[in-house]
C-alpha cells in the first residue's frame, strides 16, 4: 500500500473521475449562463453569484474527496448502521430545529451555510441496506428481509416527506432498482411502474376505456400462452391481475383527488396537459419546453439564451438547469449531457458488477439507483415527460448540499472499488 504503484491514485477508476469532472465543470458553466445578464456582465468567479458560490462548493468537494479517499474503506461498512441512525436523528431534529424556508423545515442553518439532512439520507440508507443485505443468509426473495429493507427505506422516507421534501423522499423509491439487482422479484418494480403509469393514465383516459384496454391486453396474454399453461390457475391469475389494475385505476382517482395536496395534484395534471395551468404550475413546464425547444440543433450559443435568463424559467440554476443546456447548446448540448450521465451510470453498473464484496456491489447499485432516478425525473420534467418533482440533476444543478451529497455518494463507491483487490470475495 505504501508503494507508489499501489497508491490510491493508481487504483481509482479514472474514467469515472473524468466523467465526474466533466459533469461538474459543464454544470458550473451552465450555472453561470443561467443567471448571466448581458447588461451587467459579472465574472464567473464573482462570489455573489451562483456560479461563484458553486466554485466554492466545488473547491470544498475536492477536500471532501481527499477525506473520503483517506478514510479507511472499512469505515463505511463498519459504521453503516451508526451512520444511518445518526442521519435519522438529524432528520427528526431538523423538523424541530430546522430553518423555515418556504414552509418547509428541512434545512439546518448555521450562519450563511445551510445543510439538508435529506441529501445525506440517500447515502445513509444505501449504506444501511448494503450492510444489512451483506450479512450472510439474507435473501431479498424472502418476505422477512423484504420487510426489513422496506422499513430501512420507509423511516427516512416518511421523515423527509414530513419535512415537505417530497422529491427527496421519492428518490428512495428509486432504490427499488438496487434491490431488484439483489434478488427482489421483478414483480415489485413492475407493480411500481404499472401503478405510476396507471396513475397518469387515469387522469387522461376515462376509466372505462382503460378497463377495456387492459382487458384487450389480458386477452392477448392468454392468446399467446402456451397450450400447456392454459390452466384454470393461470386464468384466475390473469383475472386477478386485471382486477388489480382496474382497482388501481379507481384508487388512483381517489388518490389524486383526495390524498394529494392541490399543488401536487396540479403537477400531475400539468404533466398531462401543460396548458392547464398556464401561469400556475404549468408555467414551469411550458417555459422549460420553450427554452429547450428554442435551442434548435446547435443552440443559441454560450450566454446567448434569452429564456433561461430573465427568470422565465424558474429555478433555472437548480432544478431546471437542463433548460440552459438545451437553450444555449441545442440538441447537440443535450446529447452531450445525456451522454455523459448515461456513460457515468453505465460505468457505475460495470464497476458495481466487478465488486467482490456484496456490500460494495449493493452500495454501487445504490449509487446507480440514485443517479438514475435523478436523471430520469429531472430531465423528464424539463421536457414534460415527468411530473415536476423538485430534485436536482446530479453534478449539474447549483447547490452545495446536492453537489456534496452526490460527490460523497460517488467517491465512497470509488474508494470501495479501488480497494476491491484487497478483499477476499465473500460472495
Amino acid at each position: 500500500m505504501a508503494s507508489r504503484n499501489n497508491s490510491i491514485l493508481n487504483r481509482i477508476d479514472w474514467l469515472t473521475v473524468s466523467l465526474y469532472i466533466a459533469c461538474v465543470v459543464i454544470g458550473w458553466l451552465n450555472i453561470y449562463a443561467a443567471v448571466y445578464n448581458p447588461e451587467q456582465p459579472i465574472s464567473i468567479f464573482n462570489f455573489d453569484t451562483n456560479s461563484g458560490k458553486q466554485l466554492v462548493w466545488m473547491g470544498l468537494s475536492v477536500l471532501l474527496i481527499i477525506a473520503i479517499l483517506v478514510i479507511d474503506y472499512r469505515f463505511w461498512e463498519t459504521f453503516g448502521f451508526f451512520i444511518y441512525g445518526f442521519v435519522i436523528f438529524l432528520l427528526v431534529a431538523v423538523l424541530f430545529l430546522g430553518a423555515d424556508i418556504k414552509g418547509s423545515h428541512s434545512w439546518f442553518k448555521i450562519g450563511p451555510v445551510g445543510f439538508q439532512p435529506a441529501e445525506v439520507a440517500k447515502m445513509a440508507t444505501i449504506l444501511a441496506i448494503a450492510k444489512y443485505l451483506s450479512t450472510p443468509g439474507t435473501n431479498m426473495a424472502r418476505f422477512k428481509d423484504q420487510l426489513n429493507v422496506a422499513i430501512f427505506i420507509l423511516i427516512p422516507m416518511v421523515l423527509i416527506r414530513v419535512s415537505s421534501e417530497t422529491g427527496q423522499a421519492l428518490v428512495l423509491v428509486g432504490l427499488m432498482l438496487m434491490l431488484y439487482r439483489e434478488g427482489l422479484p421483478g414483480i415489485f418494480p413492475s407493480i411500481v411502474i404499472v401503478a405510476a403509469t396507471l396513475l397518469i393514465l387515469s387522469q387522461t383516459v376515462d376509466t372505462l376505456k382503460i378497463a377495456i384496454g387492459l382487458a384487450v391486453v389480458a386477452g392477448i396474454v392468454i392468446f399467446f400462452l402456451p397450450r400447456y399453461q392454459r390452466t384454470r390457475r393461470t386464468f384466475v391469475a390473469v383475472g386477478l391481475v386485471y382486477a388489480g389494475c382496474v382497482g388501481m385505476v379507481l384508487a388512483a382517482d381517489f388518490f389524486i383527488n383526495d390524498v394529494l395536496e392541490p399543488h401536487q395534484r396540479s403537477r400531475i395534471e400539468v404533466l398531462i396537459d401543460p396548458n392547464s395551468h398556464k401561469r400556475g404550475a404549468g408555467w414551469n413546464v411550458i417555459q422549460s419546453k420553450i427554452a429547450i425547444g428554442s435551442g434548435g440543433i446547435f443552440g443559441k450559443g454560450f450566454l446567448q439564451g434569452t429564456q433561461t435568463k430573465f427568470d422565465f424559467v424558474p429555478e433555472q440554476s437548480t432544478d431546471f438547469i437542463f433548460c440552459t443546456v438545451g437553450e444555449e447548446h441545442g440538441f447537440f448540448g443535450s446529447l452531450v449531457v445525456i451522454g455523459l450521465l448515461l456513460s457515468l451510470i453505465l460505468r457505475l453498473v460495470f464497476l458495481a458488477e466487478r465488486q467482490r464484496t456484496r456490500f460494495a456491489r449493493i452500495y454501487g447499485y445504490g449509487v446507480v439507483s440514485v443517479f438514475f432516478f435523478h436523471f430520469l425525473v429531472n430531465i423528464g420534467m424539463t421536457i414534460g415527460l415527468m411530473p415536476v418533482i423538485g430534485i436536482p440533476l446530479p453534478f449539474f444543478s447549483y447547490g452545495g448540499s446536492g453537489l456534496w451529497s452526490f460527490t460523497i455518494l460517488l467517491f465512497i463507491f470509488l474508494k470501495l472499488d479501488a480497494q476491491r483487490s484487497f478483499i477476499m470475495s465473500r460472495v
Partner: protein, 644 residues
C-alpha cells in the same frame, strides 16, 4: 439470473436515455413552435407610432394638426406614495377614483406599466411634470389627437378612429398585417383616402424583458429595430377663407357646393351642409359624439358633394347643347317651336333659337334637341332608332363623368345614374320596348338622371375649359408644398367635342347671367364675367324643388367653376345662383360687392328634415342651425385648441 438482471438494468437506463433524446430531438429540431414562443416571451416589441401628417390649405394655412397629449402609466411595484391626498389633488382625482384606478392597474400586473390616466393636456402635463418626480412608478408616454383650425369641412377632412374588427378581417384577407387591435386608422374623408401617406410607418423596437416585464436592454443591439417614419403632410387646394365664406352662406340650409379651379381640377371649396364640428370626433369623446352624430336626422356624416344624388335639372341643357351640336342634330341657328309639347316653358315665346333657348332655359326647345339626338340616325323604326340614338347620346354624356366615378381623392364617391340602353331595356323588360316618348324627360335633366354636386362642378369646369377636365381633387401636393399630387390628377380627359360648340354654349351662358331672365337681376354679380346656367331639380311631390346652378368665371381664361345645390331652394335663380356668384366673386376679388344678396342668402332658412312634406317656407327664423346646436353642446368640456 443476475446476469439477466444486470442486462435488464442496463437496458432500462439506455431505453430512458433514448426516449429522452427522441423527445429532445422532437422539441429542439422538429417542432418549430417553441422557438417562436421564445421570441414572444423574452423579447417585447415596442411600437413607436409616428405623428400623422398635417393638412394645409392652398395658401399654407394649417387646417389639421396633432396636439400632443400625455398618457400616465403606473407600475404598481415601483410606487411609493407618502401623501396620497396631495397626489390626488395634483392629478385632479378623488381618493376613491385614485384607489380604484390603482387597484385595476395592480390587478393587471405589479411589474408592467398600465394606463393610469389618458390624454393629459400639455398644460396639465407641464403643471404636473415636476411634482411627479416625487412619485416613482408613474411614467408619461406621449400620444396625440387630431386638432382642427376650423369648424368647416368635417366630411372632407374625415376623422380618425380605432380600427374596427371588420377592417382587421379585411386586412387579413388581403394578406397584410399593418394594423393591430387598438390602432388608429383614417375612417373617412382625406384621413381615409390618404391613410397610407398620412400615417407614416410605425417603428418597432425590440426590447428584452424578463418575466417581470423589467426592461433588460435592446435585443441584438437594436439591429432588428425599425425606426418610425413620420406621416407626410398633405397640401390641399382648399382655400380655407373661401371655404369658410361658402359655409357661412349655407347656414340654415342643406345642400352642397363644389368650386374647382378648371385649369387644374383642384377643388377650391367643398361645402356639405349641414355638417358638424370636426373636433367632436377627435380625442376622448369620440364614441359618445359619434353615436350622437350618426343618429342625427340631418345626415351630418354624409358628404353631399360626392354622395348626395340630385337630378341636374336645366343645368343639364349645357351638356345637351354641345352633344346636340357635335352630333349634328342641331346647329346654332336651329329654331324650334313650342307646339305639341307637354312641357311648361317660362321663356315667354312661341319659338326660339339655340342661344335664346339656353339663356331662357327653354324646356320645349331641349325636348326637341333630345328628340333630334335620339332620332338622328338611319333607323326608321322608332324603337330601333331610339336604341341607336340613346346609345350614342349616353356615350357622349358619359365622357362628362356623368354616371361614372370621377375618381376624386375622397372615399365613398357615388357614381350617380346615367340611363343608357341597358338600363331602359332592363327597366322596360326587353329590347325595343321603349322609345323617345318614354325617356324624353332625361333630355332636360330630369327623369332617371342622377348626379352629384361634384359632377356638376366638373361639368362647369369642362365648359370653362372648352372640352376637357382634370379629375377634381383636393390634395395638390404630397409631402411638401411643391410636391406632386397623385399621378391621376395630372391627366387631361377630353370629352371629344369641338371647341366651337362650347363657344356657342358659353356665349349663351354669359347672357344668361348678364342679360338675366332666369336669375333675378338683384342677385347678379356683374363685373366678374360669369357664365352660368340655372337648374331646378325636381323633388318629390309636395316638397319644394332643389335649387341648382353651375357657373364659371371669368368668361375668358376661367379661374373658378362652381356647382351649387340648395335643397328646397325652389329654383336655380333664387338661391343657388346668388350663392355661387358670391363665392366666385369672393375668390376672384377677395371681397363682396353685392352685400344685399349676401345678407339675403345668409338669412334664408331652408332647413328641413328629410322627407318632410311641408312645402311652405318656415316662419321659424332661428339664427343657428339646429343640428349644430345639438352638436355644439358636446364641445363644452373639450379643451379647444382652435386658433381664431
Amino acid at each position: 439470473m443476475q446476469e439477466v438482471k444486470k442486462r435488464i438494468i442496463q437496458g432500462v437506463v439506455v431505453l430512458v436515455a433514448i426516449i429522452y433524446l427522441a423527445k429532445l430531438f422532437y422539441l429542439q429540431v422538429i417542432d418549430e413552435g417553441y422557438s417562436e414562443a421564445a421570441v414572444d416571451n423574452a423579447i417585447e416589441q415596442v411600437v413607436q407610432i409616428p405623428y400623422r401628417g398635417q393638412i394645409y390649405d392652398r395658401k399654407g394655412q394649417l387646417i389639421v394638426y396633432n396636439t400632443p397629449t400625455y398618457d400616465i402609466y403606473v407600475t404598481p411595484k415601483k410606487v411609493k406614495i407618502q401623501d396620497t391626498l396631495r397626489l390626488c389633488n395634483l392629478l385632479g382625482l378623488s381618493k376613491f377614483q385614485f384607489d380604484s384606478m390603482f387597484t385595476i392597474a395592480r390587478t393587471y400586473s405589479k411589474f408592467k406599466p398600465s394606463l393610469f390616466m389618458r390624454q393629459l393636456s400639455v398644460e396639465d402635463f407641464a403643471r404636473v411634470q415636476d411634482a411627479m418626480v416625487d412619485y416613482p412608478g408613474f411614467t408619461f408616454e406621449t400620444n396625440a389627437f387630431r386638432t382642427y383650425n376650423t369648424t368647416a369641412m368635417a366630411n372632407t377632412l374625415g376623422y380618425v378612429a380605432e380600427v374596427s374588427p371588420k377592417q382587421l378581417e379585411e386586412q387579413e384577407e388581403a394578406g397584410e398585417d399593418y394594423y393591430r387591435q387598438g390602432d388608429y386608422i383614417g375612417k373617412s374623408g382625406l384621413e381615409r383616402f390618404y391613410e397610407d401617406i398620412l400615417r407614416g410607418r410605425r417603428g418597432v423596437k425590440y426590447i428584452m424583458k424578463d418575466v417581470h416585464g423589467v426592461v433588460k436592454g435592446p435585443w441584438k443591439g437594436g439591429e432588428m429595430d425599425v425606426s418610425p417614419v413620420a406621416g407626410k403632410n398633405l397640401y390641399t387646394s382648399i382655400d380655407l377663407d373661401l371655404q369658410q365664406y361658402a359655409d357661412s352662406l349655407f347656414v340654415n340650409k342643406s345642400g352642397s357646393m363644389v368650386a374647382i379651379d378648371p385649369a387644374t381640377g383642384e377643388i377650391l371649396a367643398m361645402v356639405s351642409s349641414p355638417s358638424y364640428d370636426p373636433k367632436l370626433l377627435a380625442g376622448r369623446n369620440y364614441s359618445k359624439n359619434y353615436a350622437r352624430l350618426a343618429l342625427n336626422p340631418y345626415n351630418l356624416l354624409l358628404n353631399r358633394a360626392l354622395q348626395g344624388l340630385y337630378r341636374p335639372g336645366s343645368t343639364f341643357k349645357t351638356v345637351e347643347t354641345v352633344v346636340g351640336l357635335e352630333e349634328g342634330a342641331i346647329t346654332p341657328g336651329t329654331v324650334l317651336g313650342h307646339s305639341g309639347i307637354r312641357m311648361n316653358c317660362h321663356c315667354g315665346r312661341s319659338s326660339s333659337d339655340l342661344h335664346t333657348a339656353i339663356q331662357r332655359s327653354c324646356n320645349p326647345y331641349f325636348y326637341h334637341v333630345f328628340r333630334r339626338i335620339i332620332y338622328h340616325n338611319d333607323e326608321r323604326d322608332p324603337f330601333k332608332a331610339s336604341k341607336v340614338g340613346l346609345q350614342k347620346w349616353s356615350e357622349r354624356v358619359a365622357k362628362f363623368g356623368i354616371g361614372q366615378k370621377l375618381g376624386v381623392d375622397l372615399p365613398y364617391e357615388k357614381k350617380g345614374l346615367l340611363p343608357d340602353v341597358e338600363y331602359y331595356n332592363k327597366r322596360n323588360k326587353g329590347e325595343y320596348s321603349w322609345k323617345f316618348s318614354n325617356i324624353y324627360s332625361v333630355g332636360i335633366g330630369e327623369g332617371e338622371l342622377l348626379v352629384t354636386p361634384l359632377k356638376l362642378a366638373n361639368v362647369a369646369a369642362i365648359i370653362a375649359n372648352r372640352g376637357w377636365y382634370i379629375p377634381p381633387h383636393i390634395v395638390r401636393a404630397i409631402g411638401s408644398p411643391k410636391g406632386e399630387p397623385l399621378p391621376e390628377f395630372k391627366v387631361k380627359h377630353s370629352v371629344d367635342i369641338e371647341q366651337r360648340h362650347f363657344e356657342t354654349l358659353i356665349s349663351a351662358m354669359y347672357d344668361a347671367i348678364n342679360s338675366p331672365v332666369t336669375v333675378p337681376a338683384r342677385y347678379v354679380v356683374r363685373d366678374i364675367e360669369a357664365c352660368g346656367k340655372t337648374g331646378t331639380s325636381q323633388n318629390k311631390k309636395g316638397q319644394d324643388d332643389n335649387s341648382v346652378f353651375i357657373c364659371f368665371a371669368p368668361r375668358n381664361n376661367p379661374k373658378i367653376a362652381i356647382a351649387t345645390v340648395v335643397d328646397y331652394g325652389r329654383w336655380g335663380g333664387v338661391t343657388a345662383a346668388p350663392i355661387s356668384m358670391l363665392v366666385a366673386e369672393r375668390y376672384l376679388k377677395g371681397y363682396t360687392t353685392n352685400k344685399a344678396a349676401e345678407a339675403e342668402m345668409k338669412a334664408k332658412y331652408l332647413l328641413r328634415l328629410p322627407n318632410a312634406p311641408n312645402s311652405k317656407p318656415k316662419p321659424d327664423t332661428t339664427k343657428q342651425q339646429k343640428p349644430l346646436v345639438a352638436a355644439k353642446k358636446v364641445t363644452g368640456p373639450l379643451v379647444s385648441h382652435t386658433k381664431p
